[in-house]
């Protein structure tokens, strides 16, 4: 049986349904109790946190082709920063913000890579966090783990994934992840895909002062632990192995820098029912925090 007081509460809730709650990412209207935005599938917790705590998080994207290492990079970064060892500390806001870190770390501890991020936006992991900096104001950030295939699909066929377009339109900075191993092997497609991504960004917001031409872009060569010389001089590596990307960055982006990062010290393959599975032989992160640190400084300027 219902108590009288609850009936009053229900009627109050009914009134709430009449007010549309805009998604923090795409701005589309939703019911106040929706878990995911019905337009773009971003978690509605983002907007509730922004309203209740009166904060307006900045957005930073990690983009790159499928298999470039976005999930591993973001998961590792979140875990390293949440342990508070460096000048930066990460405090996750909301339980959903810890999902990516948990999934990635569980896999890496078993010497496995996490499963590929599915293309469906409702299954992506979003990280909303507060970054604490020594002697500087904390920064609120939203960092989603976008699927690489979905990114490329959106670039080739705009509006396939409205969430990507909406999110990249609001981003203050971006980490472009490029597979250094494929570049070193002379596979030009990695160069082309990175160029496509940058070109898409520049067309999305073409204004020279407020568009991507003047926003911060960190270009990170991932898996650099397996081509060690990439760490010595990432810019030189870019000039040699991704000449198209290098020129495009130089001509179109005012604030960009090249970095090298690696998480696995060495890799091998394990034979499983579904074929050969790429596995790390040990986990030793290198160059993971530096690009993010640079981007944060640029974004917080």
């Amino acid at each position: 049986m219902r108590a009288t007081g609850q009936l009053e509460l229900d009627s109050y809730r009914l009134a709430q349904y009449t007010v549309s709650c805009p998604c923090y990412i795409c701005g589309g209207g939703n019911n106040f109790d929706a878990e995911l935005c019905r337009h773009c599938y971003a978690p509605m917790a983002l907007v509730h946190q922004a309203n209740s705590q009166k904060i307006h998080p900045r957005m930073v994207a990690a983009i790159g082709s499928s298999g470039a290492g976005k999930t591993v990079y973001l998961g590792m970064l979140a875990d390293m920063l949440s342990k508070g060892r460096d000048d930066l500390q990460l405090l996750a806001r909301g339980a959903f913000s810890i999902g990516l870190q948990e999934r990635t770390m569980a896999a890496l501890a078993r010497c496995e890579f996490p499963a590929k991020t599915p293309n469906e936006p409702d299954r992506w992991n979003w990280v909303h966090c507060q970054i604490l900096r020594k002697k500087l104001k904390p920064v609120e950030l939203i960092l989603p783990d976008l699927a690489g295939e979905a990114l490329l699909e959106e670039i080739d066929h705009p509006n396939t994934y409205p969430v990507i377009r909406a999110f990249l339109g609001k981003c203050s900075g971006v980490l472009v992840l490029i597979d250094a191993l494929r570049c070193q092997a002379g596979e030009a497609d990695e160069d082309f895909r990175a160029m496509k991504l940058l070109s898409y960004l520049c067309e999305l917001q073409a204004d020279k002062k407020t568009g991507w031409a003047s926003k911060a872009v960190a270009l990170v060569f991932t898996k650099a632990d397996q081509c060690d010389h990439c760490f010595d001089d990432p810019q030189q590596f870019a000039r040699r192995h991704t000449p198209g990307l290098y020129v495009q960055c130089r001509e179109r982006l005012k604030r960009h820098a090249f970095f090298a990062a690696g998480v696995a010290g060495a890799c091998g393959y394990r034979l499983e029912g579904r074929g050969r599975v790429h596995v790390p032989l040990r986990i030793e992160p290198r160059g993971v925090v530096e690009p993010f640190h640079w981007l944060l400084e640029e974004v917080a300027r």
Binding site: C111, Y269, L281, E284
Partner: protein, 401 residues
């Protein structure tokens, strides 16, 4: 520079004329290669010349490729050099002790020629620098043993019997490795596997001189002298070990020194997970999260020692062993790699997970990789140390009697 060579001059040269010719062929081949841009042919000629020089200097005296024979050959060549230079034998022994090559002096073939005080000094050096690991069984586990239940683990782990041996108390430091470099270790070709000779010229530091990858101008920075040497491949580690009269430890030997198996009441050996116990204590070890993002001095964490007094088995740098990577894995869980790898153990300053830096975790690396976090330490068997060999023979005779 042109030199008129006649038979008298050739006769009076400090080396024989074929040796001189081989020596001269090295720069000549490189000059020809430079002029004609036939680098492959030039390099082959130069390597052949170097190979002849090495064979002429050491190879004639050395036999098989075993570490014992190589070490003896190295000593023999040193003795020969000393005789040529009319250097007193005492000075040579002192030099070898100062260079940390006491293990060579204690070889059964050599120890009998030493004076009692020289032998005593060499034994003292051995005791100070190496820990005695008694022989016995050690359990070797596959890579993913933590995912297995007890029955599965019991089926898949292997018990290996290890002979008694000595293991370096500390990883080889930059300072110790510098003595090897300054003694011409990169030019003494009998210290190197013959298959790797063409690559030895490429084992250079950041300034192009022979030496570990991160050194500059042939030596380490002053603040890193006591740090473990890194930026050396497996072959460089093996060459150093031969020079020092030692060898790289095998995987079971390495695990035994740290895990210190104890057999009680006929039960399977009880082994430790870390040298000090079963739980990771970040104050005793240098892994990710316990300090700076680089190697540190090998002498800074005495409380992290094993029961036998071996330091820094876990953390700071991974250590090359002589075993191949993956030998303890089950056939269905074998890891395929692009090139055959060598086993590395112990974790390093940047090892992220506790589950990847304990004594039973094996990782692998290409034997030619010169990484920023891989070093090594050396071992020598009881059978290669004169006093231990004699004592074990006596024990056997007594037992027979």
């Amino acid at each position: 520079m042109s030199v008129a060579l006649n038979s008298k001059i050739l006769h009076n040269l400090p080396v024989s004329w074929p040796t001189w010719a081989a020596g001269a062929s090295v720069p000549a081949c490189l000059a020809l290669a430079w002029q004609s841009e036939q680098w492959a042919a030039g390099a082959s000629g130069a390597v052949a010349g170097l190979g002849y020089l090495a064979w002429n200097r050491y190879g004639r005296k050395s036999g098989a490729n075993g570490s014992s024979t190589d070490a003896t050959a190295s000593f023999t060549s040193l003795m020969a050099a000393a005789e040529r230079d009319a250097e007193p034998e005492g000075d040579l022994v002192q030099k070898m002790l100062a260079a940390g090559r006491y293990s060579l002096l204690l070889r059964p073939q050599i120890a009998n020629n030493l004076q009692p005080d020289q032998l005593y000094a060499a034994e003292q050096a051995l005791d100070a620098n190496m820990s005695c690991v008694p022989g016995g069984p050690v359990i070797m586990r596959p890579r993913r043993f933590e995912d297995m239940d007890e029955d599965e683990l019991a089926r898949n782990e292997r018990t290996v019997d290890v002979d008694g041996y000595f293991l370096d108390r500390y990883p080889v430091t930059n300072e110790a490795y510098l003595r090897f470099v300054q003694d011409g270790g990169y030019e003494q070709m009998n210290l190197w596997d013959a298959t790797i000779w063409p690559a030895v010229l490429g084992f250079v530091d950041s300034s192009g001189l022979s030496g570990p990858r991160y050194w500059k101008h042939g030596h380490p920075t002053d603040e890193k002298r006591q740090h473990p040497v890194v930026g050396i491949c497996w072959y460089e580690a093996a060459a150093y070990a031969r020079w020092a009269g030692k060898r790289l430890a095998t995987d079971p030997e390495w695990v035994k020194a740290g895990a210190w198996p104890v057999v009680a009441d006929g039960a399977p050996p009880q082994q430790r997970r870390y040298p000090w116990g079963d739980a990771l204590d970040r104050s005793l070890v240098h892994v990710w999260g316990s300090g700076r993002d680089d190697t540190t001095s090998t002498f800074g964490r005495p409380l992290g020692a094993s029961v036998g007094g071996v330091q820094e088995l876990v953390g700071n740098v991974w250590e090359w062993t002589s075993t191949s990577f993956g030998v303890w894995d089950l056939a269905n869980l074998k890891i395929e790699t692009a090139t055959p790898m060598r086993s590395i153990r112990g974790g390093a300053f940047d090892t992220y997970f506790d589950s990847q830096c304990h004594l039973h975790f094996q990782s692998g690396e290409s034997p030619l990789a010169r990484k920023h976090n891989i070093g090594f330490r050396c071992a020598v068997g009881f059978c290669d140390v004169a006093s231990y060999q004699n004592s074990s023979e006596t024990e056997e005779q007594e037992a027979a009697a």
